[in-house]
Structure formats: structure tokens, C-alpha cells
Subunit: 339 residues, 4 copies
Amino acid sequence: MVVILKKNPNEKQLENLKNWLQSLGLELHISNGANQTVMGLVGDTSVVDIDLIKALDIVESVKRIQEPFKNANRKFHPQDTVIQVGDVKLGGGNFQFIAGPCSVETEEQICAVAADVKAAGAGILRGGAFKPRTSPYSFQGLGAEGIRLLLEAKEKTGLPIITEIMDLHQLDCFDEVDIIQVGARNMQNFELLKELGHLRKPILIKRGMSATLQELLMSAEYVMAGGNEQVILCERGIRTFETATRNTLDLSAVPVLKSMSHLPVVIDPSHATGKASLVRPMAMAAAAAGADGLMIEVHNDPQHAWCDGPQSITPAAFAALAEDVRHILPYCQYNYEQI
Amino acid sequence: MVVILKKNPNEKQLENLKNWLQSLGLELHISNGANQTVMGLVGDTSVVDIDLIKALDIVESVKRIQEPFKNANRKFHPQDTVIQVGDVKLGGGNFQFIAGPCSVETEEQICAVAADVKAAGAGILRGGAFKPRTSPYSFQGLGAEGIRLLLEAKEKTGLPIITEIMDLHQLDCFDEVDIIQVGARNMQNFELLKELGHLRKPILIKRGMSATLQELLMSAEYVMAGGNEQVILCERGIRTFETATRNTLDLSAVPVLKSMSHLPVVIDPSHATGKASLVRPMAMAAAAAGADGLMIEVHNDPQHAWCDGPQSITPAAFAALAEDVRHILPYCQYNYEQI
Amino acid sequence: MVVILKKNPNEKQLENLKNWLQSLGLELHISNGANQTVMGLVGDTSVVDIDLIKALDIVESVKRIQEPFKNANRKFHPQDTVIQVGDVKLGGGNFQFIAGPCSVETEEQICAVAADVKAAGAGILRGGAFKPRTSPYSFQGLGAEGIRLLLEAKEKTGLPIITEIMDLHQLDCFDEVDIIQVGARNMQNFELLKELGHLRKPILIKRGMSATLQELLMSAEYVMAGGNEQVILCERGIRTFETATRNTLDLSAVPVLKSMSHLPVVIDPSHATGKASLVRPMAMAAAAAGADGLMIEVHNDPQHAWCDGPQSITPAAFAALAEDVRHILPYCQYNYEQI
Amino acid sequence: MVVILKKNPNEKQLENLKNWLQSLGLELHISNGANQTVMGLVGDTSVVDIDLIKALDIVESVKRIQEPFKNANRKFHPQDTVIQVGDVKLGGGNFQFIAGPCSVETEEQICAVAADVKAAGAGILRGGAFKPRTSPYSFQGLGAEGIRLLLEAKEKTGLPIITEIMDLHQLDCFDEVDIIQVGARNMQNFELLKELGHLRKPILIKRGMSATLQELLMSAEYVMAGGNEQVILCERGIRTFETATRNTLDLSAVPVLKSMSHLPVVIDPSHATGKASLVRPMAMAAAAAGADGLMIEVHNDPQHAWCDGPQSITPAAFAALAEDVRHILPYCQYNYEQI
């Protein structure tokens, strides 16, 4: 952390600042220039509340050099984290397809899709039970009943399941869910993150629509600070001025996150683009960028999906896509541990 | 709502679509052009799930013409909503200052600030008890104890209080809170919004950092759909590429929201800019744009504030600002009811 | 400027870097920490090409502390710049209205609007002759003939005129134009800026739709580096995800620019919002934020304007707006010279 | 195009509007609902200036259904455009690498890099002669001398060359240049585009940092409207709130542009990310998304590059990247002609 002081700082205030910083266990290095004084802080600055320093009268600006996250930081944990649910591994060279319908509708639907995506090579079944919808007048998901149907599909196919939690009071329904998803709109629902930090099961966190990559890692840090180290990061499109796609899929997030963190990174091209015809090229691009997995909406009858039909692909299209992805994966391995 | 069909749509599918739309109580108007067919839907289209139509094979695109919100819509409720807490009114020509520290720290602090802002003309006291912080290692607020201190300040000054809720399980602490604030990060925490819809006290909803104005109104609609019509909208800066300010304060939101909706609109220049020196000009600009109120961070000792010190102003600066705002208010009245 | 070195930098490379930086006249202050070395550069760092340093193997990152602009910098030129054309002053406490039609159409039109806006208090007449249009099939402006008509309106009313240049080869037409406007799309047309730096007449530069405030000041610096110190900055909306307005008017730009620079700042609410009904509240807000002037589209028959009719207001609406602005101006003075 | 009228429109004004639209050769289809009237316009609406209609008193809103571009539109020209320079083809299944240094520095440098990238499989040599730099104090390129050096490298290696034009007055220097590049900052320099439309050589247009894909196609349309049909589109990152990368590379632009247009699409991962370590994964991702080519900065000594060193890769890294891209290309073919 570098603190730039204003010209001619008040001596007494400066002394107070120095004493306080040293009491936090930080080493101070001070450069006095003709026009300004620069103070370098060395040590574990992740504990320093940057706002407290910025507010001081004698300080012009403060710049962080070290990242404010520790548990999620590759510098302190160089090896890739591998998430395991049942026999299925994700991360550390283990690529996974997470596939299924936007929302669970009926037992027939979810079981049929589950069987189809398993046959096409998916390792994990997704399906929405609690659905965050922009309008209170839209279908809000089957809720607990949706999770029950997912568990039936799990029993029939053996696929572990992932589904989204929207609020802490739903947590009881998630006992048998293999991976809990935190949606983009809840990425900074800190009370929820803290509570999930007390669990010992994988949490997939979707990047908020206007969250920086560092903020996504800080949300992972909330879960990990509670002792739960099984976090999966998911990029699903950010909000920009472009209107040709629902969101703008930020694929640079893959190599950037993987160089900053040891956590696995998954891409959701379905929500990012909002259009079925864009899912295949963007899924291929995500795999080529080095993603650890893909989360894809598959529906056996997209035209009659209860939500997000325009972005769902058929089981046949998913099977073709999965095969193409597997073809290119061997050429798309990047080693971040040595960077 | 206008549905544009693809060339030569399948007759049977078209017939099904028409029957379904008519069963929803909509009138259909069809224009057959040489190259395309346009279908106009007239009636209450807020109930139509636009995704279901978009997913159909025969449909090229769908465009909404009516807004998807009803209770918050000025078209159906032309008169300004006036929020009243105790003797204090907000909206409909009643301008209010909501002022206080970013976070409640001690009894002395909150009572001193409360007395100061009241003397300067503030009608409502703000103060954070539950604090959403990006980092799990930052100060998280005093919680329930913070609310207790706010209530003491209320008793001493008579000022009604507003403070933020972060999760439903905190709701018990809010029994005596006058206005409940939903923060920007929770703007689309739909479970929270639904529950607040069952209360009968004012809810102030802050616009999410990447939320459109329509989405903000849809979040208000979630609360109002539950029967709670006392909603205040708050713009506090959106996320853009500009880094000179923490966020970009979108003041056009004031006249746009007020023409779309009858709900009062409040501006928070402190969080938007992140810098104390920008609070006064932006507060003046907000008042000039026609806002119904200002939410301003005031701290008696900004340099030692436990959070967000850089954006807090002193009670003296607040008093000066409030006086200037009062000078210009008479020239900044716009009539949206007749538009 | 602060250079953060990687761990254990190559000694020889480090020596080379130090020698090079010292040869640029910079003082070096080096702090050796256990895990990193921080090098502070003191002196005129605006001449340092930051990319050259970042590219070095031994460098982890580089952070600029001083602004990279000099001529436009308030630190080196604390007094407000005042622009004068004829008897009309802009900046340094002199507020001006710049008004007129989006594009010059006929002699009758421009002379009528000129007389109307002068009567309402405008000090400068605007009007487009060369028009930048997104589509090659839209009306492209009257060109040189448009400037001739503007000059007739100037002769009749005495109002100095401002109009936009789109390319250097049009420069001959601008001999008698009082202020030359560089549009948002040309803000980084560096060849044009350099050439305008050789003139000795005021240049108004509009902020690009995705330009940071620092980039806008760098564009001003291009003009000023050529010796032309008469630059006016203009904010006209930036591009964000919000679609309710054409662009998002960033009014924080006013106090931020004015604290960074001594150049006058003008706001164009017409282009920013794209809607006539939003012009008045946003014009008032701009004045309240401390702008030095307003640039407003006025058309005597907005419904038949050849371009941008939806955002033009009538002469009567402009007169009412100007009167209201004059009422609030006395309360909206901020002193940046002492900051 | 769909025009939504306000309630109870003035009869005479409505009649005038209808007559005017019919005089433009458009067919009108009118739906009268209880609350609103919707007017569908069928025919060539690319000639209609949407602003003229929006400005009318009786109109509530106008929505375009057809794209406003014709020459660039795949609907009217289903086959992929293939650009040919010498023996080198780009587009229509012909993938190309465009490689070379950010700026031409010396004869030795450009010839060495040219030989290296040719050996690694590049088909076209890039190199900056006229350089758009944010600061007037940064290196501005060698200008005409830079083009002379590029032509020497072309003679030695046989590689066709591409370099950027910044202003029309430089056009004389481009006689022997094979492909003229229009930079992101000039994407809406309409005078330049018009003039390039009179040439009969390929023009590569880079997407502006805040340009929508439709606006990029409108800029292509400016060139094509002049009769020059050889246009290449290039995505090089857009501006968003994310600061971890210089810009956000929008790879969805590839399938979206290719479905909207028959023009070839090239990706520049070097400028988009600003970091050498991100070039390889993003180049692979671009190829996987279906790009027709890659534009990559290669420098034989990135640490001493005169500009943009941090994003340049070495010839050896380029050769490895090119080989990996060739491995995955066979699996990344998408057919847009039949969509």
C-alpha cells in the first residue's frame, strides 16, 4: 500500500498515522520529495481499512498494491483448487459440463433432460427451483418442490445437482443439494455469503452484472473466511452499453481470475448472451480461454420452456457442442501456477 | 406489445399463438406486409411473460410498448405519492433532508450528529447499523446495538430514523425503525422485497449499481404488489467506466423516474461521488433536477469515521448546504402529473 | 509516479532503469521491503511514457500520482480561464447560454432562432453546418452554406457563433467563426486537435461518449501544447447501460473538471438526454452543479426540425428556462482556486 | 418500423404523417386499439430518418424493426465477403494472422519482425506509422517514414501490409499500403470514411470503445455507400467498468456481427487486454468464437518497444500461439449463410 501525503503535513497528525500503522504490524518506508511525501506500507495490508486512511486531512491519496483477498489468492495458494462432488471433479485440469433447464417444471421434464445431458457427457445437473425474476408477475419457480424433483433426477441418473439459493430461510431445502449456487443479483448479499461459509459443501458464485473481478474474489473471500474453501467462480456476462446481446460475456475474466486465484472458473454462455444461436460459439470460446467448465441451459422443448426459452438449446445441440469442446480442450491448457 | 413474425410462419403454430394470446384477454391486430407480419397486442400486457413468446419458432422479435409495472406507474396513479412518518412528509412538493453518519458508532456520536442535523433542518436521521462491506475484514456495523442507539437519538431529537436491512432474519430489529432502507446490492433481493411488501411502513429502495430505471421500478413493484404502497426511490450512482468519482451520479434519473412513476425520488450524493468536496455541488444539482429529498452523510469527525469518512461532511458544511438548497428550491418545481 | 518492482529484480536491469529515470531529471526514492521494492519518482513525470516502464521484466506495476497534463492543470494555473469573443465572456464567474438549432436549415430559420435566443438572454449562437450522422443516408448538414447563413444571423443579431468542424479540410470555412467546436466523436482526432492548437481562437471540445475526464483534459492539452490556450470543455453525456435517456449526463464532471483544471466547463443537456422534456430540469441541475455555461438546442418548429427534433425546445421554453437559471445562479458559486 | 401514436391523435396531423410516409414508398398497416394506435411501416425503411418521426406531437415512440444498413447486411448479401490482397485471402473460411509491432521503429526491427511472423504463418504484416496517442507528449510514430520502412519489409518478405490512417491529409502516403486501418477513435470520423469509400482497396475498421455493433456496421456502410465493398470489421475491446484489463474484449461480437453481416470479422486481443500474458488465451478464444482472423502485436524486444510494450508478445510466443490456433480451427466453423 502506498500513501501519498499532502504538502507540508501537520507533524503531529503524521506522527499519529505512523504509530497507528506500525501498531498494525506494518513496516513503513518514507520518501520525502521536494513536492510530496510517499509512504510505502509493507506487510499484511489486507487488514487495513483503506477508507480510514483516505479520510485523513494530511493524506492526498492511497493506492493498494497487494490484493485485499487472502484465502482466494493464488500467491498464497499456488495449486489449483479441485472441487469434488461424488465422483465428479471440477478444476485443476478437470473440465466439467453443468447442464439442465433454466427452471425445473415437471418430473418428466427434469428427468428427461437429465438423462439426455448425462448421455452427452454432462457431469452435473443444473435446474432452477427458486427463480429470481425481474417482475413479480413472472413465474417464480417451483421452490422446494423443484428441489425434490431435482433429487429424483439425481437418483435416476446419478448426476450431482446444483441449484440456486435466494435467501437464507430457504437453506433447509438445500441439505441434499450437491452445489449451492449464489446468483448474480446476490453476489454481494453478504449475510448469505457468511452463512454459506459455515457449510462444508461447494458454493458456486456468479459474478454480479456490474461487479469487478476483484469484487467477485472478495465475495469468495466472504465464504472462505468462514472456513468453506470449496468455491467455484462463474462469469455470466456483465452489463455494458451494447444491446445486441443480453449481457456482454467477459471471457478475459477466465485468464485474469485464474492468475489471481486458485479457484475454478466456470462460464455460463446461456445467460450471458440470451440467445440460443450464440451459445455454441461462446461455449467454444470459453473452453478455448481456459475455463474449467461450462454451465449451459438445455431444454427438451425450448419453445415451451416456462422461462428463458430463447436461450435454451436442445439436448441434441448440447451433445454436438460438448463433442466439439472436447476436441479443442487438449490445446487450451494454460499453466497459472508458475506465473 | 408488438410481435414481429418470421416470414411465412407455420399456420398451425400461428393459430395456437393467437388463441393463447386471446385467452389472456388481449386484443390482436395483425398487419400482413409483403415481407413480414406484425401483430399488435392491446390490453393489459404486464401479465405476459415476454420470454415465452420470444422462444417461439415463428417469432422474430417482440417489443414491449407498455411498461411492465402497474402499481408504481404514473399513468394509472397520476398524483404524487406522499410518504409520511410522524409529522414529516416526503414527496408531492415536500422536500426532505435525510442526514446522519455512514455508520452508528457510539451513543455520543449519533446523538451529537442527530442534534446538529436537526438544527440544520434535516427531517429524518440516517445511520448504518448493519453495514454491507465489500471485504469480510472491514468493520461490519454495530448491528442491533446500532439500531438501539439510533432509537435513543430519535427519542432525544424527535427525528424519525431510517436504516438499512441486509437480510430477512434481521427484520425483528426493525420494529421501531421508521423507514427501512434496501441497499443497492439488495435491490434485486426479491425474497426480501416480497416480505417488505407485507409491512405497512415506508421502504426506501436504492438503485443497484447497474440497474436500469425500469428495473428499479420493478423492484418497487415487488413491494407494492404485496400491498405496501409506501416506497421511496433513491439514486446513488451507477457504475460506468469513469474512475474520477466512485460512481456516476445519474441525475436524469430524477425527471425520468418522476415522469414514469408517482413515487418520491431521493438522491444520495455522498455514496455516488465518494468525495466530501463533491457533495455540495451535486446536492444542489439534485435539488435543481427536481428531487424530493437528499440523503447525505454527516459526521462530526469525518477523519475518525469508522467507514466512508472521505465522503462525509461536517455538520457545519451540511447546514450551509441545506440553506443553499432551500434558496433554490422554489425555482425547481416541475409538474409531472399533467404530462 | 510509483514503480513497484518484482521480487529479487535483476541487478543490472535495475541499475539501467535507475540511470534512465535519473537522466530524465527525476529524483528517485527507493523503499526495500521484505517482499517488494517500491520506487518513488519525484519531478516532472508528465514526460515519462508509462508504457515503457510497464514493459520491463523487473517491474510489477506502475502507478501515476501526478496528472499527465500540464497546461490544463489548475495546480500550475490556479486562476479560472476566461474565454472572450467580442464582448461576451465565458468562465471565471461569467455564465453564458449558447443556444440555437441542431442544424442550420434556412436563412429564415437561423435568423429567427437567433433573434429569439438573443432576446431570451443567450450570448452565443450555435448551429450545425457540418453534421456528424450515424447513417450515411441521413441529412449531412448544409456545409459551407450553413456557415454563411450563421454569419448572416451573426450580422443581424451581433451574437458570436459556434459551429462544429469535422475534418481539417473544412478549416478554410471557419475563418469568421468565433468558436470552433470539436464533437464527441472527434475528441481523440489528434491530427485535428494539433492543427487547432496553431489557431488563436477558442475551441470547445466535447467529451467523447466513453472518454474519461482525464482523457478529455489530455485532448485539451493537445490543443494547448500548440499554444492555443482558449479551450472550453463540454460534457454532453456518456454511454452507459441505461436506455431511458440517450446518454447519461455526468454532472459530477463539472466540479471534478473544475477542480482539476482552470478551463471553463459547459453542459449540453439536449444531446445528453435526447428528450425535450428533460432539458429544463437537467439545465437547472447543470447550473446548480457550477457549470460555466449551457449549450441548448432551440428550434422555432421542433416538429419540423431536419435533425434531432425530439430534443429541441421552443424559443419560449428556452426563455423560461434561462430566467429560472438566472434565479438560482447566485447560490451556485464554488471556489476551486483555493482548493 | 413501428410507430406508436399517442391517444386521440390530431386528425390532420395524422393525415399528413400518413401521406408523407406513403410518399416515401412505404406501405402502412394501422391497428386501432382502445388505448393506442400502432402503425406498421413496411418497405425500405433504411431511408427514413427516425428522428423526424419521433419529433412529431402525435407520436409516442418509434421502433425500428429492420436494420438501418443495407450494403453490409447479410439479409441482402448472404455469401461471406472474401477480401484478397495479393495471394492472401481473408474471410469466407480463410483464416488469417495479421501480426507485427505496435509501431514501426527501425528498418532492422520491422524487417526482423516481418520475417519472424511470416515464418510463424502470418499472412499480413501490421505496424503503426501514424500513432494515435492519448498524450501529446508521447511518441507519435514515424509517419511517412514508417510507411516507407513497412514497404521495405513487404519487399523483403512478400507480406502485404496494413497500417493506420489518422487523417485525410495523410492519404497520399497510403498509395502502396495494401489495407488501410481506421482506428477505434476514428470509427465515426465520417469524412474520413466517406473518402475511403472512393478507394478500391480494403479498409479495416476498428470498433470504437463505446460503439454498438450496429454503429460499427453503420460505419462500414459509410465506406460501402461510396462503392468500396472491401471492408473488414475488427473488435478490439470496449470500455466497461472493469479495470483488470485495459478494455473488455467482446467476443460475442464475432457471431453477432457475422449473423448480421457478410463482412469478415477480425479480433485484436493485444489492444483489448493490454497484457501480453492474456493474448494467447484470448486469441484462442477468438478463433473458437469463429473469427476470420487475428491481429496481434509482436515485437522482437517487447521490453524496449517504443509503445505498448506490455501487450506485445515475442515472435516465439506468436509462433506457438499460431500453431495452437491452427489445431482448433477445424472445429470452430459456423455457418451463418443459412441462418
